[in-house]
Symmetry: C2
């Protein structure tokens, strides 16, 4: 049992280290040596858990996708199907990109030429935004004449842009920046009678500094 | 003279081939052999023009930046400093990303971990959008209370998102998709009295198929 726990911990630290190295260097230049060194484990231990770099990348992508699924499901559970859940999820996603190395690494891989067709991250995010805005439309939360699919394309394009720009300059991922985006878009896509109830800054108060450790960001 | 022309043509086809290979494979995996083969020249001829892969990448980035500068300057020359020049330039940029291998290759390099800090493309585009929207604000074309800097961040995030998503799925770069983006944003950021004069689909008629060859996209 102790042995199993140790193995799980080693696996976890390898995925974390791989996410960091992929995010800093890209998939192709990242070496297994750099990853095992960062994780503080031997090359042998790395190969016990992961046969090759592709399997490490898949593990990062899978864990990042799970983290994104957790945050979108939590946003929906808090807010039903309203437009507010999309606003909240974009805030939570950007905060995860800032604070969670695995989410950042997963999205860097999703943008990498060598991995982009294999990664589920951007397509799942797009699907969730589309589904949520269609539900918001059925609930009468979108303004008349606004297409849920077209609004989803704008939200997805902008969030992918923030994600990519945030890789080089984290200020793009700030709560303030995401709030400004929604202040531009929401008056256009929300039903006028609902607009007053929607919070561009997200419906949850900003996390206090002590709460913003990586583990809290999901 | 004939010799100089031949050298210029060889250089040109090497830059074109490099842009294509960088866009397909990414900077690190791209080999000089694949580039010279694509260009139909010998390895010796490649090394006569470019000492290494970095110099080829710089040439692609420089030519892509010049192409983007040409299209933004042309949009401004046609439209003065109005918001319409930003609308037009986003259409022209997305068309270039679809049709011009050097512009596509340049932006793929701008998104590549190994090149992103060196590339002028995204920062120059951002600067141009910001300058143009500030000018539009001074000319009274922006709605009251809208910050030119904040509107610029939304436009830049969305266009970077379209550029990145368009690398895997060209439909993101379509005229229709860019038009829908402006139909969402323009009613929010434009002064109400000017809105009727602004054309979300771009102020130039769509190019006829015969005009849409790569050479015409700039």
């Amino acid at each position: 049992m102790v042995k199993q726990e140790r193995a799980a911990r080693t696996r976890r630290s390898l995925i974390q280290a791989a996410a960091e190295v992929f995010a800093e260097q890209g998939f192709v230049p990242a070496s297994l040596g750099a990853i095992s060194k960062r994780a503080g484990v031997s090359n042998g231990a790395l190969h016990f858990h992961f046969a090759n770099k592709n399997m490490l990348a898949e593990a990062v992508e899978t864990e990042a996708a799970e983290a994104v699924r957790r945050l979108t499901e939590a946003a929906r559970a808090r807010q039903g199907n309203s437009l507010q859940s999309v606003v909240d999820a974009t805030h939570d996603l950007m905060r995860s990109l800032l604070q969670d190395a695995i989410v950042r690494g997963g999205f860097e891989l999703a943008g990498d030429m060598q991995r982009r067709t294999k990664s589920p991250l951007r397509s799942e995010w797009r699907q969730w935004v589309e589904d949520s805005l269609r539900a918001a439309q059925r609930a009468g939360v979108l303004a008349e004449g606004v297409s849920a699919a077209e609004a989803a394309r704008v939200v997805v394009a902008a969030t992918v842009g923030l994600e990519v720009l945030g890789g080089a300059d984290p200020s793009w991922l700030s709560r303030q920046n995401v709030t400004r985006f929604w202040e531009m878009l929401l008056p256009r896509i929300a039903d006028r009678r609902r607009l007053g109830t929607l919070v561009c800054a997200g419906s949850r108060p900003p996390a206090a500094p002590s709460e913003s450790a990586p583990g809290q960001s999901q």
